[in-house]
């Protein structure tokens, strides 16, 4: 088979069916984009989990002068109470890996640093955030043990577990993942049906050519190759555009999200290099299989 001849046949085929080739391309683009978003969202969840599970902490806020927590009863924590909490935490090793003490001044400074762009930090005063123990756990999943041990203890205002906050975030991300993969699945189904219809139509509109090819003894491969190549070409162009779209999304939209999530690591444009080969491979397999199966049915020898 001469490459030049095959290419010219593909060119003629695409020109004749340009509008439908474009629709295959666009449907593929949307399905691959959604699939990519799904994978990126899942990748984001994994990245964040890895990041946060190393840092996850249970914060034990002690009572301050003006604490509103019921347990404080308006009194600040005493030194004895604080020492008792510290030794109780020490006894809980090895579950408790590290304990950091943060004074009111340190808490104030950290908040100022983290929210330096937020107008909120201007109104904050030393003492608004009470002194606290930040407890790092060897197994973050067993936070309940620490929470139940210190909730309601004398001098403790509130025990805050960061895992709960994170779980909410992860839940949202999981919904994004499942939702986009579900939509992507529907769109892939759409593109498969569209490819099949396209090939049926192309096979019909070119039945004169294929009839002559059969008569002069062209192999099945030669007869079918242009149809398959046209479909693959349209599908891969769509995939290429979708990957470009994912790139733009990761490169320009995600950094805005990262302002909200502070310094947590985000999936970025570089992650697309890991997703892209799978998307291209998937679409290649789908388009080849679909077109081959359709041709077996509609382009018999």
């Amino acid at each position: 088979m001469r490459i030049q001849f095959i290419l010219s046949e593909i060119g003629i085929g695409l020109r004749r069916n340009l509008s439908i080739a474009i629709s295959v391309m666009l449907v593929t683009m949307v399905s691959v984009y959604l699939m990519g978003i799904g994978f990126l969202a899942q990748g984001q969840v994994d990245t964040l989990k890895g990041y946060w599970y190393d840092r996850i902490q249970v914060s034990i806020f002690m009572c301050g002068k003006d604490s509103l927590d019921v347990n404080c009863d308006g009194k600040a924590v005493t030194d004895e109470q604080r020492d008792a909490l510290r030794s109780q935490l020490d006894e809980m090793k090895p579950l408790v890996k590290n304990v950091y003490y943060e004074s009111e001044q340190q808490a104030f400074d950290r908040f100022k640093e983290q929210y330096r762009n937020s107008p909120l930090s201007d109104y904050l005063q030393v003492g608004d955030i009470p002194q606290n123990f930040r407890v790092q756990l060897s197994d973050p999943k067993k936070y309940e043990v620490v929470v139940s041990a210190f909730e309601g203890a004398p001098g403790v205002g509130r025990v805050q577990d960061q895992q709960k906050t994170l779980d909410k975030l992860f839940k949202v991300m999981n919904v994004v993942t499942i939702g986009s993969l579900f939509l992507a699945g529907l769109m892939v189904l759409c593109s498969i049906l569209l490819m099949a219809t396209t090939i049926r139509q192309a096979a019909f509109s070119r039945r004169r050519e294929t009839g002559i090819m059969k008569l002069v003894g062209a192999s099945n491969f030669t007869i079918r190759l242009p149809f398959v190549m046209e479909t693959v070409l349209a599908a891969l162009t769509g995939t290429g555009l979708a990957i470009a779209g994912l790139w733009v999304t990761a490169d320009s939209l995600l950094p805005r999200v990262s302002a909200v999530l502070q310094d947590a690591p985000l999936v970025g444009a570089h992650d697309i290099w890991f997703v892209a080969p799978w998307l291209v491979g998937f679409m290649l397999v789908v388009s080849v299989l679909t077109s081959w199966a359709t041709l077996r049915r509609y382009l018999r020898v």
Binding site: M213, L215, V216, G217, A218, S219, T222, V301
Partner: protein, 229 residues
Amino acid sequence: MIRFENVSKVYPRSTRPALSDINLEVERGEFVFVVGASGSGKSTLLRLVLKEEGVTQGTVLVAGQDVGSLPARKVPRLRREIGTVFQDFRLLPNKTVYQNVAFALQVLGRSGHAIRQVVPETLEMVGLEGKEKRLPHELSGGEQQRVAIARAFVNKPPILLCDEPTGNLDPTTSLDIVRLLDRINRTGTTIVMATHDDDIVDQLRKRVVELRNGHIIRDENKGVYGSGR
């Protein structure tokens, strides 16, 4: 070259067989007219040779191969041994004369060099030199059939099947076309031509096989159109 042994063909949903118990042998280099009324089984006979249809019973041998047991992937190779010409020419309307003939070689993967050599030769042989760049609709019926013959013959197949090639042509043109086929026959190509055209059969005096209702009722050398008239 072509042998039918007790061949029957029944189309599904048909009450009577299109061909029943046909025995026929066509030697290499022969020119055979297959005559008979419409529906007598002429086209079915040709379709069985091409394996466009499978036999219901019996054996069809083409160039030593049992066509009935030929697997689908080997059918293209069989068809490269057979050129085919039809009543309705079947040219590609948006390709020129040259491109129509070259197409048959391109799809078989022949090199550009070989195509540039063989196509003009073949066009000259069928008498179309100087008309390479015409489109089919710019040609007369006879010229279009010449293009179709050139396309069927450009690959130099040992067998040429013609299914009423003169059916759409006037008598003079028809005779020209059959003379062309006769010339191709003299290069050693076996020709089987199904036809209605009594004038031509009577003039050429070749072997005549007559079919009626799927049976061979006559097979004679140097025959005339005869009873079907």
